[in-house]
């Protein structure tokens, strides 16, 4: 067992995937000698060569568009988008091509492409570097979307995503890149498309993913001091959603709060609220409440801590839920 950072977890997972399958290639801006702006691909080009770790032109549509052709030739491209706000030039290739080719070809073409996107705020960055665009992709048929929240998941989930034959948008919580945890490489991972109870509780269910899992756990610890028992679930998979553990928890607590950094309107929380209401209506003691970013563009970084949901805003929602 060694303690690794979340960034290192992704690096180790990428390395393992490249060792396991020579068709796995990495494409992105600055992923080669530099090792990526977050150093997630550190050392990979040195060990696997320039044909498998490709420093690409600065052209996101080009990264995804050529990945389509490489996938048709039997490769498994892992595309790094440098920052969340830079994915939009590739949006057409992702939504119209990557997501649809399996469907359009009736399964004759598979698109085993992983699109890695460091996402979310909290690092004091300039604009376009702190966004949470996951709903755009979760809304798109043909894509799958996952978000890791900790080093161990990062290590396993990236390997599972690369091994899958469907295109997967893989969100990495950039402000948690330097969080550490013990990794046991010989343990058995959870399935990729599964949510997980990370802290059991009885009074209110708090759902989170990516960077907000840590916030939710901190909220649960604070609540415990007041004698409140929060159950925290790490969604892990955003499309498809794994609602089984969520419904089970909702039936137990009767109260659900969803937390994400992304703007509230039509965010993941909206879909989750609808599904929990449909499946657990008679168990609910309160409406499903959402805590998220506001329906504004991401603000200048000096006030981002106010924009981003924090422990207190989660607990405020918990209180409001309990007030019903």
């Amino acid at each position: 067992m060694t303690a690794i950072t979340l960034a290192k977890g992704v690096t180790m997972g990428l390395r393992a995937a490249m060792d396991a399958d020579p068709k796995v290639i990495i494409m992105g801006e600055d992923v080669g000698k530099l090792g990526g702006v977050f150093r997630v691909t550190d050392g990979l080009q040195k060990d696997f060569g320039e044909d498998r770790v490709i420093d690409t032109p600065l052209s996101e549509s080009g990264i995804l568009g050529t990945a389509v052709g490489l996938a048709m030739r039997g490769y498994r491209p892992v595309c790094e988008i440098q920052f969340d706000g830079f994915v939009y030039p590739a949006y057409d290739q992702i939504v119209s091509q990557v997501a649809k080719l399996h469907f359009r070809s009736r399964g004759k073409i598979t698109m085993p492409i992983v699109i890695r996107i460091p996402f979310g705020g909290g690092i004091g960055a300039v604009e376009h570097h702190s966004e949470s665009p996951e709903a755009y992709f979760a809304h798109t048929a043909g894509l799958k979307v996952v978000a890791c929240s900790n080093p161990v998941d990062a290590y396993w989930m990236i390997q599972q995503a690369i091994a899958a034959d469907d295109p997967i948008v893989f969100f990495e919580p950039k402000r948690r890149y330097w969080e550490k945890a013990e990794l046991d490489e010989h343990s058995a991972p959870d399935p990729l498309f599964s949510s997980r109870v990370v802290q059991a509780g009885t009074d209110v269910t708090v759902l989170a993913y990516g960077p907000m899992v840590k916030t939710a756990v901190q909220a649960a610890m604070a609540a415990a001091e007041d004698g409140l028992s929060l159950e925290v679930i790490d969604l892990r998979t955003l499309s498809p959603l794994d609602m089984g553990p969520v419904h089970e928890s909702a039936r137990k607590t009767g109260r659900v709060v969803v937390v994400h950094e992304a703007p509230l309107t039509l965010g993941l929380g909206s879909e989750i609220a609808a599904r929990v209401t449909e499946e657990c209506f008679y168990s609910l003691e309160a409406p499903v409440l959402r805590v998220g970013g506001f329906d504004t563009p991401y603000p200048p970084s000096r006030i981002e801590e106010e924009y981003l949901p924090d422990l207190d805003r989660v607990l405020d929602a918990v209180d409001r839920s309990l007030a019903y």
Partner: protein, 390 residues
């Protein structure tokens, strides 16, 4: 005009290129005369030219039948290739079996060369499927409607060929190349320009085959470019050529050379096939609103089929019986196409859930089951809406 920024466009690129300009590569004139070119020659025999003639006629017949089917309500829309047959047959026949083509939605002639059943082309336009052929087995990608997107796919596939080591081995059965089709309008797309850059810096074995048919729906080429398209290639770092797109011999010779250059590992080439869209953009378009009939008359004199026929006739290679036999074969093909089109079954709505993912999702299965149950609920007894579920 002196700008202080160097020579004007006219000095750099020469005068306006009426008729394709001085750099137009031509091996067969509109009158059907073979002409020499210093860099390119057509070295197949006359039987090959007769084969091309058949290809051209069959392709045009498929196209006219499809247009008729649309007019009769059997296709939702059709994108005609009328006038562009030589550009497609010449380039399609230049491919080897192991080469891979990435088409737009108008490459019916290239599909013909790849041996794809023309009936498969109709599925997309009839609305029963989104391309019924096997893109990987036929080495002919699905039709791509988002303008220019496929040029990046072509470049990526070519990068895959590089990694597979099937470039520059010298083995004619092994070395492979990619050809990416697009039109003049697409050259304004970011994806096409990105594809040029990627192919250039990675030296990818891809031929960018632009059919400049002068029109992007209603917008003339002047709205896309102030310089001849083929001259753009130089700025990206690879050669550009302009070929008479209505001359099947020249298109074949130029494309074959460009594909061979790619297979040898010498990188991309831009081929601008200078041609004309004789029909509408699609059956939904009305070109009388934006272009002159005189232009059409001008280009009719450059018809890609007539010049081959003139060559065959004047050389004594074919007579009226030959042409009649080809026409008869084309009519048979069209009749079969029509019959097949009318018999194409509509897809089953429940099948749309199946091909979204390689590994389906619980939510999708749930939606499928719910809708199947909903449909089945109409089987239980009399209902008043005639069985429709809309």
């Amino acid at each position: 005009m002196t700008t202080g920024f160097g020579p004007g466009l006219g000095e750099v690129f020469g005068p306006t290129h009426d008729g394709g300009g001085p750099d137009l590569i031509q091996l067969l004139t509109p009158e059907g005369e073979r002409v020499e070119h210093p860099d390119f020659s057509f070295d197949l025999d006359d039987d090959a030219i007769k084969g091309f003639y058949r290809d051209l006629v069959m392709t045009r017949r498929i196209d006219t039948e499809a247009t008729a089917l649309q007019r009769q309500g059997e296709l939702g829309i059709w994108a005609s290739l009328l006038g562009q047959e030589a550009a497609q047959i010449g380039s399609g026949r230049a491919m080897r079996e192991q080469d891979f083509a990435f088409p737009t939605y108008r490459e019916h002639g290239v599909a013909w060369c790849r041996g794809i059943d023309p009936l498969h082309l109709l599925g997309l336009f009839r609305g029963v499927d989104q391309g019924g052929w096997d893109p990987l087995a036929d080495k002919f990608a699905l039709y791509t409607i988002v303008i220019g997107a496929q040029t990046l796919h072509a470049t990526g596939y070519a990068m895959g060929l590089q990694r597979d080591g099937v470039i520059g081995t010298g083995d004619p059965d092994r070395d492979a190349a990619v050809i990416g089709y697009f039109g003049d309008g697409a050259t304004s797309q970011g994806d096409v320009n990105e594809a040029f850059i990627w192919a250039s810096v990675f030296n990818a074995p891809v031929v960018f085959f632009c059919q400049n048919n002068q029109w992007a729906i209603s917008e003339p080429i002047e709205r896309q470019s102030k310089i001849p398209l083929y001259q753009r290639a130089l700025g990206f770092g690879f050669p550009g050529l302009r070929v008479d797109g209505n001359d099947v011999l020249a298109v074949y010779a130029v494309t074959r050379a460009a594909l061979q250059r790619a297979r040898e590992g010498s990188g991309p080439t831009f081929v601008e096939a200078y041609t004309y869209r004789m029909g509408a953009h699609t059956t939904s378009d009305d070109p009388t609103r934006y272009r002159l009939s005189a232009d059409l008359e001008h280009w009719k004199l450059k018809d890609p089929i007539e010049r081959v026929r003139a060559y065959l006739s004047r050389s004594g290679l074919a007579d009226d019986d030959y042409y009649s036999a080809i026409d008869s074969e084309a009519d048979d093909l069209a009749a079969g196409l029509r019959k097949g089109c009318l018999e194409m079954p509509d897809p089953d709505i429940l099948d749309i859930f199946e091909a979204v993912y390689d590994e389906t999702t619980p939510e999708l299965q749930s939606q499928r089951q719910s809708y199947a149950a909903y449909l089945a609920s109409f089987d239980d007894g009399p209902h008043t809406n005639g069985g429709g579920v809309r």
